[in-house]
């Protein structure tokens, strides 16, 4: 090799010094006592190199850049030759920070994809290629002891979420979950979550339907509305309680809430409303008496109460 750069470290912390040495061998055949190695960082010449001839006739130059302030920079080892500056080797300098601690780790059990999806915030850019891995294990108690481990979940490039497939999950057992971030300058781990997949199910809202007039039913009272609802199909096996909120479509009135409703009813009558007024109704549900998250509010069902 005509010229070869070796670095004190391929990657340093941003602002730290970095030392490089370049050795130019005899087979460059153009070496003479006047030969002088010149260093360039990107396009700027760098002063301060120390040059010496080694016993075997090779020429060595060493330079220390006191503060590497760029996350990427190209360092060239050059030699004056004729009236040109010949590049003999180049090295890519990298600088950055160890990974910040990933935070805001949260997980939801998705009943349609049957996977536990966790997301986190990676923290500020550390300028280096950083691998995030979602690690987890199954545990009997409150995640103090590890029963058996679960394969690492590796997110797609640059993504801050990962989904653990159903086959690695025991839906009703505790799991310890955390995120590890690793780059050339270090490793950091997020605080650990301890959760039971079924307790973090992401419920979709129930579906509301208006109840049309029907022979078996007496017409609704003035100021009353008849409707029915059904929880989200993939969650039919989960006992839930629901909340209904309603507000007149026009005007500024706030939502009124009717709590603790069953997760399914064939016919419900909502009364003490203003007659012949258009109302917007929404419902949400949560797993109940077992722990769970509230679903979002359903889209509005618009019904109008009958005249007095």
């Amino acid at each position: 090799q005509c010229g070869h750069i070796s670095l004190s470290a391929p990657i340093v912390r941003l602002g730290d010094p970095i030392t490089a040495s370049c050795i130019i061998s005899q087979n460059c055949s153009h070496l003479d006592s006047e030969s002088h190695i010149v260093w360039k960082l990107e396009a700027e010449l760098q002063p301060g190199e120390r040059q010496q001839y080694l016993p075997n006739g090779t020429l060595q130059s060493t330079i220390t850049l006191p503060h590497l302030n760029r996350s990427r920079a190209l360092l060239s080892c050059c030699l004056h030759w004729g009236n040109s500056l010949q590049i003999l080797d180049q090295a890519e300098l990298q600088a950055g920070y160890p990974p910040a601690t990933p935070h805001n780790l949260s997980c939801l059990m998705n009943l349609t994809t049957n996977s536990l999806t966790c997301q986190w915030e990676p923290g500020p850019n550390n300028h280096l290629s950083t691998n995030f891995t979602l690690k987890s294990f199954r545990s009997r108690g409150n995640c103090q002891s590890q029963e058996d481990s679960i394969p690492d979940c590796v997110p797609e490039d640059g993504q801050s979420h990962c989904s653990i497939p159903r086959k690695h999950l025991q839906l009703y057992q505790n799991m310890g979950i955390w995120v590890q971030a690793k780059n050339a300058l270090g490793t950091s781990v997020s605080p650990k979550l301890c959760l039971v997949p079924m307790d973090v199910v992401k419920l979709e809202p129930p579906t509301l339907w208006a109840l049309g007039p029907s022979p078996e039913l007496a017409p609704p009272q003035p100021g009353c509305l008849r409707l029915r609802w059904e929880t989200w199909k993939p969650s039919l096996h989960i006992d839930q309680k629901c909340e209904l909120r309603h507000q007149p479509r026009l005007g500024e009135a706030s939502w009124d809430l009717v709590g603790a409703l069953p997760s399914r009813t064939l016919q419900y009558e909502l009364c003490r409303l203003r007659p012949s007024t258009a109302y917007a109704l929404q419902m949400r549900c949560t797993r109940w008496r077992l722990p769970g998250h509230w679903s979002n509010w359903s889209p509005s069902l618009e019904l109008t109460t009958t005249q007095r």
Partner: protein, 174 residues
Amino acid sequence: TPLGPASSLPQSFLLKCLEQVRKIQADGADLQERLCTTHKLCHPEELVLLGHSLGIPQASLSSCSSQTLQLTGCLRQLHGGLFLFQGLLQALAGISPELAPTLDILQLDVTDFATNIWLQMEDLGVAPAVQPTQGPMPTFTSAFQRRAGGVLVASKLQSFLELAYRVLRYLAEP
């Protein structure tokens, strides 16, 4: 038996060759541009010393100069040069992920062009008896050397193609 000047080369062959030269020139320019933007290696003049130490062979088109045009010799040198560049481009494999697709297309187009010339020589009965074998190729021992080699090979290829284009244009003139 050496060939008379343009008389014996089919017009469609010459038009195809001109089209292929233009394509390879475009591929080569694309490679040079990417080497410059991605790796800041923009001037072959800065890499002459390295080129000497790497020992990148030169392709000659002496039989194609307009003064001493010798068609059979010219076709053989054209093929020989392209065959040499096939080897050089192959030696650059692993240049860098960003450049690999460009290098692949360049190599395929050079190989296609070399094949067309060989087949035409066979049709004219002037092909060498034996397919050429690749001589010693430079060994690029670092990512930097492959990129610097890429700059040097691309620049030599452009000069070679410039000459080839001129002689093919001359041969294609009615």
